[in-house]
């Protein structure tokens, strides 16, 4: 039994009680000689994925399963006056129809409901049908007659802020109290500066476009509901769906085996999760409700568009005297839960600066709701801050990396806490400049219309530390194999493999003798949502604790069998060693065979993070590219990336995460952006034809330079998260490289050809009008 602590804070109604379990596992030291952790290994589920046998939510097929489709609002803002579903109900093959006429009144999105009679965006749910095939369900939707009264709408950030703008909600278009942060006096800092950069940047709303859409299959057995759900958090879905349906949590089971991507948008329950359950109950048959690509891109999340005015003040030597940022982001028609999209954060923490002001306003528009998207807030803000820093470096004629070194933060200035690995970002700077040969770097000469440039950007990220509560169980079987049982989920990132490696290391078992279980609320203990790059760092320590627990029991058994004190025993490579001597090794299965069919059961909990340290991830990127000044085309040549993510548990999988994050960063920088027709409120590219995600031809050589310094103060494994960080510096590094190549600063994403050509034209015009300098 682990030490268990109950702490109480506050009093009266404000009381919060927290339970935590101290982690008694010894942290792996920085130079620990580990045999499984730290070594590359292919994904444990690889075979299923390359043979088509991996079962995703979309692939669930149950006897009698029906298929559901949702009728969605064609208006960005309207009142539903009348809805008639009679014809749809009578269509052969239709088994359930739901709309505001018959659905239970379930509150959703603040003061809205599951089927609200006011729709606030194109795509809002109006009715849902379950039928024997997708085709019949589509036919049924066409038979539903709805009368709408269109209402005034607004779909862009700037218009929504105007005083006479149509109101998305009665209370107006400001969705939350502006978030204001002040440290020191930024105005004074700007006055004291020798140089001030004052730039306004905008970023486009981008769409997650996970290849597997959101959706689920619902099936009832009496009062018990099972939901197969494409989600980043089986336990969040269980809690939110149970609450919406007024069910106790133990009557809801959520399963997620494999998932075709989430990127932040699948960490909360969405309407279809409840709709599928209601349709299934009405029909008395299992119902699958997967969104089509258009709905996926309209209603279940996006990265919000932003406008950011950034002012940086600095002394001649580069010392920052002030950072001031006025920030606006468009949240869409509804506020959603999950990981916050904090655009202010990076301004407050990335650089050492005594005077910081941020002011963040969130705005409603009549469009799809924003939700966390891989490093939410930081990706948008890094584009602006790191662009402004590049501008500052040029204004001061200081090397851009040197400027960042001169403003190095070793503490979290918002909480006045030292970082757990204060040298982390500096190590990234060192490795990156070395890898690219920065000290002697020479830009290749222009060839024809092609101009070469290189850009740099740094980042921090507020997450990656992992956190409690998180639990794991390990069953050591009679034949010396182990089942690691958790309630976490693999969202496509390699969770099974990285966590199984931690178990194998601690148990002293080869990886192929471990089965890793996850993604089922009925069989595994609570695990947190897979967001905030947290899974490895949350679950790893819990799994180590469970492994230690079961290993100690194994040593007790072995001690009896071998007649050697338990404290002289250790485990490695499937064997029990006496005094660390491999020549006196006894196979674990021989020991377990003595007690079989009894098994040993270990239990582990994630201990708390240190209260006196701030745990963060850091990094940076160099990007080399070429701009064609005749066509505006940008061709990426090389990306070098380094990140302080603590100990690298599985370099194979981590490299893939880095490459993948950067690839999404390339899309955010160069080609991606939701386009809305302002007159119609219509999203013009809710598909994969006109919405341009990067293809294989868009991705250059990407080198991940391993920093790989275990963060031994962070948790017992020394590993931090890698999922989100690599995407953060990509767009500003590309924008800075474009400036380096052609001398124009594009302040809006996507950094499209038309913007580059317009920038080049403006620059050429300005140059031609420059008065001649007298000789």
């Amino acid at each position: 039994m682990l030490p268990f602590r109950i702490s109480q804070q506050g009093s009266g109604e404000e009381t919060t009680i927290e339970v935590s379990e101290e982690d008694r596992v010894q942290t792996w030291p920085e130079d620990a000689r580990l045999t499984v952790v730290g070594h590359g290994h292919g994904r444990l589920e690889g075979n299923q994925k390359v043979t088509g046998r991996a079962r995703y939510t979309y692939d669930v097929r149950l006897p009698g399963q029906l298929y559901a489709k949702v009728l969605r609002s064609p208006h960005p803002h309207a009142r539903i006056e009348r809805i008639d579903t009679t014809a749809a109900e009578q269509l052969p093959g239709v088994h359930a129809v739901l709309s505001s006429a018959n659905a239970p009144g379930i509150t959703w999105y603040e003061n809205s409901s599951l089927f609200d009679t006011t729709v606030r965006m194109i795509g809002d749910e109006v009715a849902a049908v379950a039928a024997e095939s997708e085709e019949i369900a589509e036919d049924a939707l066409r038979l539903i007659d709805v009368t709408y009264t269109p209402l005034p709408f607004v779909v862009d950030l700037e218009s929504a802020l105007q005083p006479d703008a149509p109101k998305v909600w009665e209370g107006g278009n400001i969705s939350q109290e502006p978030k204001v942060y002040d440290r020191g006096d930024a105005d004074a800092g700007l006055r004291d500066a020798d140089v001030v950069v004052d730039e306004t940047f905008t970023t486009a709303s981008v769409l997650h476009n996970s290849l597997e859409p959101h959706g689920c299959t619902a099936s009832w057995e009496g009062e018990y509901l099972t939901l197969w759900n494409s989600t980043q958090s089986v336990f969040t879905i269980r809690q939110e769906v149970a609450e919406a349906l007024d069910l106790p949590e133990h009557r809801v089971r959520v399963i997620k085996e494999h998932m075709g991507g989430g990127f932040g948008a699948k960490q909360i329950a969405w309407k279809q999760d409840v709709l599928a359950a209601l349709l299934s109950r009405q029909a008395g048959r299992p119902v699958q409700l997967m969104l089509d690509r258009e709905a996926e891109n309209l209603v279940v999340g996006n990265r919000p568009s932003t406008r950011q005015r950034v002012r940086l003040g600095a002394k001649r030597d580069g010392t920052l005297t002030a950072i001031s940022a006025e920030l606006v982001q468009a949240r869409g028609a509804y506020l959603t839960g999950g990981e916050a999209s904090n655009v202010s954060g990076i301004y407050q923490t990335l650089y050492k600066c005594p005077n910081v002001h941020t002011d963040e306003t969130t705005v409603y528009i009549n469009a799809g709701p924003a939700v966390a998207f891989r490093a939410p807030g930081h990706v948008e803000a890094a584009f602006a801050l790191e662009g402004a820093m590049d501008q500052l470096a040029r204004a001061l004629d200081i090397d851009p990396v040197e400027l960042r070194r001169r403003n190095y933060a070793e503490i979290d200035q918002t909480e006045d806490k030292p970082y757990s690995l204060p040298e982390g970002l500096r190590l990234c700077y060192d490795r990156l400049t070395e890898a690219i040969g920065w000290d002697t770097y020479q830009r290749p000469e222009p060839t024809g219309p092609k101009r070469r440039g290189i850009g740099f950007a740094a980042h921090d990220w507020a997450a990656g530390s992992g956190h409690p509560p998180a639990y794991a169980w390990i069953e050591l079987n009679g034949d010396g194999t182990a089942d690691v049982v958790t309630g976490t989920q693999d969202i496509g990132t390699g969770t099974r493999t990285g966590l199984a490696q931690v178990a194998a290391e601690e148990l002293g078992l080869p990886l192929d003798r471990i089965a890793f279980h996850l993604g089922d609320t009925a069989t595994g203990p609570y695990s947190p949502v897979s967001s905030g790059s947290a899974t490895q760092a949350s679950m790893g320590p819990a799994i180590r604790a469970a492994a230690l627990d079961v290993k100690e029991q194994l040593f007790r058994v072995a001690s009896t069998v071998l007649e050697i004190p338990a404290d002289r025993l250790s485990a490695r490579d499937g064997k029990i060693l006496v005094d660390g001597d491999m020549s006196r090794a006894v196979p674990i299965e021989d020991i377990m065979g003595q007690i079989s069919p009894a098994t040993l059961h270990g239990r582990g909990a994630r201990g708390p993070n240190p209260s006196d340290l701030a745990i963060r991830t850091f990094g940076g990127q160099f990007i080399e590219l070429e701009v064609d000044i005749e066509t505006g085309e940008v061709t990426l040549h090389r990306i070098v990336s380094a990140h302080d993510i603590g100990r690298i548990v599985n370099p194979t999988v981590v490299d893939s995460q880095v490459i993948g994050g950067i690839t999404q960063g390339i899309g955010f920088a160069l080609t991606e952006g939701r386009v809305i027709d302002h007159r119609l409120g219509l999203v013009l590219n809710p598909d994969l034809e006109e919405y341009f995600v990067p293809t294989i031809a868009d991705v250059p050589s990407i080198d991940h330079v391993h920093v790989n310094v275990p963060d031994v103060k962070a948790n017992t494994t020394g590993a931090k998260g890698v999922g989100e960080p690599p995407l953060i510096p990509t767009a500003p590094a590309i924008a800075n490289a474009i400036f380096d190549a052609v001398g124009i600063r594009i302040r809006s994403t996507p950094l499209s050809r038309d913007r580059i050509l317009a920038g080049l034209a403006t620059a050429a015009e300005a140059a031609s009008q420059k008065p001649e300098v007298p000789a």
Partner: protein, 176 residues
């Protein structure tokens, strides 16, 4: 308004999938993709965009890589169809499948079937394709996890593995 055709208007079709004949009754509007996924429960072929933009549903039809979401099942009667489920020989993985695992050429795996099917057709035709041919082959296969560099490496590795197999096709280098 479109009414559902009565069941009797379903049309008999025989789909030859991975070497086996499957007689089916399908609506004329049912795509090959839906016939695979629903009528035959061959769910390895994935639906992502359902309009020919992403490549996830790629299968081989008479030796050509095709988007199964853009084919009607009734048009595939008598055609020889290979899906991801038919790429391995029993439990022995195809060189491409093996190379995809070795080179970590996927993360979530949702695009993987389509990537492998497209490359499978390429490697059937060319013993030693150029890097450009490999890239061009999967340019239409979107991968949101961004496994692209590893997909290219895996394809290259599969060429080696294939050449090393004892029963490798003795077609001269360069293919046909």
């Amino acid at each position: 308004m479109i009414a559902t055709p009565p069941l009797s208007s379903r049309i008999p079709v025989t789909l030859t999938i991975n070497g086996r004949d499957h007689p089916l009754l399908v609506e004329p509007r049912r795509t090959l993709l839906d016939a695979l996924r629903h009528d035959l429960e061959l769910t390895g072929t994935k639906k992502v965009c359902d309009m020919g933009n992403c490549g996830a549903c790629t299968v081989a039809v008479d030796g050509q890589a095709m988007y199964s979401c853009l084919l009607l099942a009734v048009d595939c009667d008598g055609r020889d169809i290979t899906t991801i489920e038919g790429v391995a020989s029993g439990n022995e993985l195809d060189p491409l499948q093996q190379a995809f695992i070795e080179h970590d050429a996927f993360q979530c795996g949702f695009c993987t079937s389509g990537q492998i099917m497209n490359l499978h057709v390429l490697l059937d035709r060319h013993d030693n394709p150029t890097d450009e041919q490999i890239q061009r082959t999967v340019t239409g296969n979107l991968c949101r996890c961004g496994a692209y560099p590893n997909i290219a490496k895996a394809a290259r590795r599969a060429v080696e593995l294939k050449a090393a197999r004892p029963n490798a096709d003795p077609v001269p280098s360069g293919g046909r």
